[in-house]
Symmetry: C2
Subunit: 244 residues, 2 copies
């Protein structure tokens, strides 16, 4: 039976991190909320699981996966689940554990990126927190963004197998997480990211390579890949962007 | 060789979530940054690992664990690592996976609790973001805190094994995570939490039971258990608290 992915159908959002792993691992999956109601899809089908759970297992929020009697929620855990069962995670235990730590750090990074446009609260619109967002964006561009990207760059540099991948000597799900984060940052902060190749050459080389990688190319040009927009995590608000 | 826990020595912070699991699982561990320099401890010993990593595995931030050649970072992943190897996680796979999802949701909750006093940025002092914190605190008390606690209450209610524990029929690490979160909320938001037993009776019953549980009692009364303070995650700022 195909794995079921549940996520909001109108944004790439956090669901896209899971979708990328499913696509690259070539897993048979159903993207429930994006399917027509006649095929058991739609937002209502998602809300039913959020309300009732699966055998007492209730997700806090999308994205989540349902695989038989298993319910896996939280973006990082969904990625880990799919990747470790489908050849997109390191096999050696110490590397597997480090990859998990890395996936959770990427989730933290994504949460901070989101909170740039929602510093006061997720319950309010961006328009209700613009001055605060502007202030937070400055600290994000100057301190938090470099702190995270410096760290990814250091991890690539320190990889005993070379700087091509974050962990081990082949593509794993954590590279896909970094890839999508950088794509999103390029969309949301084009001025800030214009000099990224100078600051974080190994990170940006990895992303450029993945953009052309045969394992991603088909998916990225398909209509399953959604465009970024101003309802998701990565939003382009020119007033929050600057060269530094 | 004992497992090494690395975390800031002056606050309970996120490290306390890991420490609780280590203590209750009765794991032999060394709390490195709190040990004297002569015993290989101190903050410098921690900074060395943050700077150099372990065989190319570099943590983004404390807390992290070092166990031989393994480096595990991120609070939730540290708790998962210790619990799954030491009898504090469910054995059945579907429950094990749901527990992981739960642990990551608790990490998100803790991040939101932290951001109440730091909405604009972690690089600024609380005193530099007091008006924004006050605004965020209102949304937190009225929407986010109930959203999370309602969910824990629903998870307890839906547990096919009864409402004593979040997952399965015995204590697991996710109960400890909820326990410490509630203890911290009681410290930071005493007015808001005064009516918690009416709103979330099963959650508060679990916490009350754990407070007296023989597996925790010794630790909680030891000098290894640190008091909450205004440098950590859970801070008592009266101006951020209210009954609703």
């Amino acid at each position: 039976m195909p794995v079921e992915l549940y996520y909001w159908p109108m944004i790439p959002g956090r669901g896209e991190f899971v979708r990328l792993v499913l696509e690259v691992a070539d897993v048979d999956y159903r993207d429930i909320a994006r399917l027509p109601v006649e095929e058991g899809g739609g937002i209502d089908a998602m809300m039913t699981v959020i309300k009732s759970g699966i055998d007492g297992k209730i997700p806090f929020a999308p994205p989540f996966l349902v695989d038989g009697d298993r319910l896996v929620s939280q973006t990082a855990e969904c990625c880990i689940y799919v990747a470790e069962r489908n050849g997109l995670a390191p096999r050696e235990e110490a590397l597997r554990l480090f990859a998990r730590s890395l996936a959770l750090t990427t989730a933290d990074f994504v949460a901070e990126i989101h909170d740039v446009h929602h510093p006061v609260g997720t319950g309010l619109y961006y328009e209700e927190q613009k001055p605060e967002a502007k202030r937070r964006a400055e600290g994000f561009r100057r301190e938090r963004l470099p702190k995270f990207l410096n760290w990814y760059e250091r991890v690539l540099t320190a990889n005993p197998k070379g700087p091509d991948w974050l962990v081990g000597d082949r593509l794993s799900y954590v590279d896909l997480g970094l890839f999508h984060s950088i794509e999103g940052l390029g969309y949301a902060f084009p001025k800030r990211m214009a000099s990224a190749s100078d600051s974080w050459p190994k990170v940006m080389a990895l992303v450029a390579r993945l953009r052309e990688d045969h394992r991603l190319r088909d998916y990225l040009s398909s209509d399953r890949r959604m465009a970024f927009n101003e309802d998701g995590i990565f939003r382009y608000y020119p007033e929050l962007d600057a060269e530094n």
